[in-house]
């Protein structure tokens, strides 16, 4: 249950960050609805944000390992 809570907290934080970052990237002037180009932009931005998350996570893991080996 602790595991689940952390997983949920982690997903929520990710969703919150993606919403903010992708709104900033894709919605220049908020109109009366999300038009199709904005929707497409948000979907792509979301995929890129998760790609970035995976890269950052990998880089951080590798760094931790390197630091441990140097100790």
């Amino acid at each position: 249950q602790v595991k689940q809570q952390i997983a949920v907290a982690n997903a929520q934080e990710l969703l919150t960050k993606m919403t903010e970052k992708c709104f900033k990237k894709c919605i220049n002037k908020p109109g009366t609805s999300l038009d199709s180009s904005e929707q497409k932009c948000v979907a792509m931005c979301m995929d890129r944000y998760m790609d970035s998350w995976n890269l950052v996570s990998k880089a951080y893991s590798l760094r931790i390992q390197r630091e441990r080996n140097n100790m």
């Binding site: 997903a11 990710l14 969703l15 993606m18 919403t19 903010e20 992708c22 709104f23 894709c26 919605i27 002037k29 908020p30 109109g31 009366t32 609805s33 999300l34 929707q39 948000v42 979907a43 979301m46």
Partner: protein
């Protein structure tokens, strides 16, 4: 039991207010350039749309994320 209900309602109100603080912070930076004697209609429309589009983006991302799982 009544106390529990009362506390839950108050907690929801606090969350509602916290959400408005966040929206207002974000949409103020997005929409308000000059602060004159009143908000002009263009700025007012921008603020209202900003809230609705922010929620749209949030729902779009949440639903798409659920599908990816």
């Amino acid at each position: 039991k009544e106390l529990q209900e009362f506390l839950m309602v108050e907690k929801q109100k606090a969350q509602f207010n916290a959400q408005i603080h966040e929206f207002n912070d974000f949409c103020w930076d997005k929409c308000v350039e000059k602060t004159g004697n009143k908000l002009d209609s263009k700025t007012e429309t921008c603020l209202t749309n900003c809230v609705d589009r922010f929620i749209d983006v949030s729902l779009l991302i949440t639903n798409r994320f659920a599908q990816l799982l």
